[in-house]
């Protein structure tokens, strides 16, 4: 019941099988390459029982698989490890199913057999569904889309954004940037040299002793004006010294500039 049944001609994915139907070992030599893993092989074996997968005899299936693997080995075919793992597992399952029940084993052999069966059902279901899917009216094979669609086009139009204000501001700025530069200096409050001369000459008569030049400055709040007054008074002092009207003295760099009336 093993060899010939493995390669039932109704199994559609293997063409060569029909010719070799009778001889299991011959079949092995030609078709062993067609399996996609042990589960695939098991499913093919199961389908050969020609019953609904739910009524499958797991024991018979296990037996077939083990015989198959045995034959492959006698032919010195190199078996991939997963086939051997499956064989070992199935051998265990077989003995567990045949031995008297041991309630301590969990999951029970029957449970394991059921799971194996479910897996086979699942794979089978997906295989059949795949075939049905492929058999549908498929676009390009059974039904056709329009041969020469005009096509729909989305034309991208770039809209440039710029508002009126931006436009005229830009022009304003070009003008501002390129107009000839004209510098206007703010009018500042100053003490002129003439004013300083007048003031210092007037005050010097009263100062008999050395007096710091700051004392000649008019009392004023504006520091800028104060600086101007200081500068003008300094120049005035130099002028008066040149005329021989006053003496100037500074003890060190940056020390206060001292002024007094020239002693006669």
């Amino acid at each position: 019941m093993t060899g010939p049944m493995l390669f039932d001609a109704e199994y559609p994915l293997r063409d060569e099988s029909a010719a070799n139907d009778q001889f299991g070992s011959d079949v092995l030599t030609i078709d062993i390459d067609g399996w996609e893993g042990p589960l695939d092989l098991l499913l093919a074996l199961a389908r050969n029982q020609k019953v609904d997968l739910r009524q499958l005899s797991i024991l018979a299936l296990v037996e077939q698989y083990l015989v198959f693997i045995d034959q492959a080995r006698t032919l010195k075919l190199e078996l991939a490890a997963d086939y051997l793992v499956m064989a070992a597992w199935l051998a265990y399952l077989k003995s567990a199913l045949l031995l008297p029940k041991d309630p301590t084993i969990d999951p029970s052999p029957e449970e394991l057999a059921l799971r194996l069966q479910l897996r086979l059902e699942r794979l089978n279901a997906m295989r059949e569904s795949g075939a049905r899917l492929m058999g549908r009216d498929r676009v390009g094979r059974d039904v056709f889309l329009r041969g020469t669609p005009e096509g729909l086009r989305v034309v991208k139009a770039r809209a440039w954004e710029c508002d009126y204000f931006e436009l005229i501001t830009a022009y304003g700025q070009i003008n501002a940037r390129t107009a000839p530069a004209m510098h206007i200096v703010k009018k500042r409050q100053v003490m002129t040299l003439e004013q300083a001369l007048e003031r210092v000459s007037a005050m010097i008569g009263r100062a008999i002793d050395w007096t710091a030049i700051h004392a000649f400055l008019p009392p004023m709040a504006d520091p800028a004006l104060r600086k101007s007054a200081l500068a003008s008074s300094f120049v005035a002092a130099l002028e008066l010294a040149k005329r021989g009207l006053i003496d100037l003295q500074q003890e060190a760099t940056f020390a206060p500039l001292m002024v007094r009336k020239t002693a006669r």
Binding site: I30, L133, M134, D137, R141, L145
Partner: protein, 201 residues
């Protein structure tokens, strides 16, 4: 008269000219907001029912196609699309019926690892796409089908998948039994298959 309804004509012309299936929103983008696109589509599909051309809905998109029963006339000079491998067909079926699924889940159902090319072929065909990650350790990528899958296989929605209701009822689409999977099918190379010296390629 139905033929002269300008909204109907506009929707008809737009879909007819398009080189890809369109959603209601996409159609509206062409015909304008004032048109009741959904109503026009349903009127049109009635009008075309039984003709040589049909207006069909696939998922959210609509398109015109030739009637399926006329395939024998038209198939003649068309090239059969390249045949998918058995692994690819099964993988596609698993993704479609279980989506979203991770690669490990696909492998658990098939009992073998899937080779890298298999998913690539399905993605290249535009039928499958990565659909995020499963929030479990390792965060594996999960896969799902695309709108183009529905279109290609003539499905209005995934509920149209052949036999899906029965499979669901039979529990065959439930999350797979991981205990069994771990016991038998962990980390095995499938490509080796029953590696043989007598290859009859």
């Amino acid at each position: 008269m139905i033929e002269t309804d300008p909204d109907l004509r506009a929707v008809e012309a737009t879909l007819f000219a398009s080189d890809h299936p369109m959603t209601v929103e996409q159609i509206r983008g062409y015909v304008g907001d004032s048109v009741d696109v959904a109503a026009a589509l349903s009127q049109l599909s009635e009008h075309y029912a039984g003709r040589g051309i049909e207006l069909v809905r696939r998922g959210k998109t609509w398109h015109f196609q030739t009637a399926a029963d006329l395939a024998h006339l038209l198939r003649r000079e068309r090239e059969e699309s390249r045949k998918l491998s058995r692994a690819a067909v099964e993988t596609l079926a698993i993704i479609a019926y279980h989506e979203p699924v991770s690669r490990a889940e696909i492998e658990a159902i098939r009992g073998v690892q899937i080779s890298k090319g298999t998913l690539d072929v399905l993605m290249e065909a535009g039928w499958v796409r990565p659909a995020g990650r499963r929030e479990v350790p390792g965060r594996p990528l999960i896969y799902a089908t695309t709108p183009a899958f529905l279109t290609h296989f003539g499905l209005t929605s995934r509920k149209d998948l052949p036999g899906i209701a029965d499979l669901k009822a039979a529990g065959l689409l439930d999350p797979i039994d991981s205990a069994m999977g771990e016991m038998l099918f962990t980390g095995e190379e499938s490509d080796a298959e029953l590696a043989i010296d007598v290859n009859n390629a």
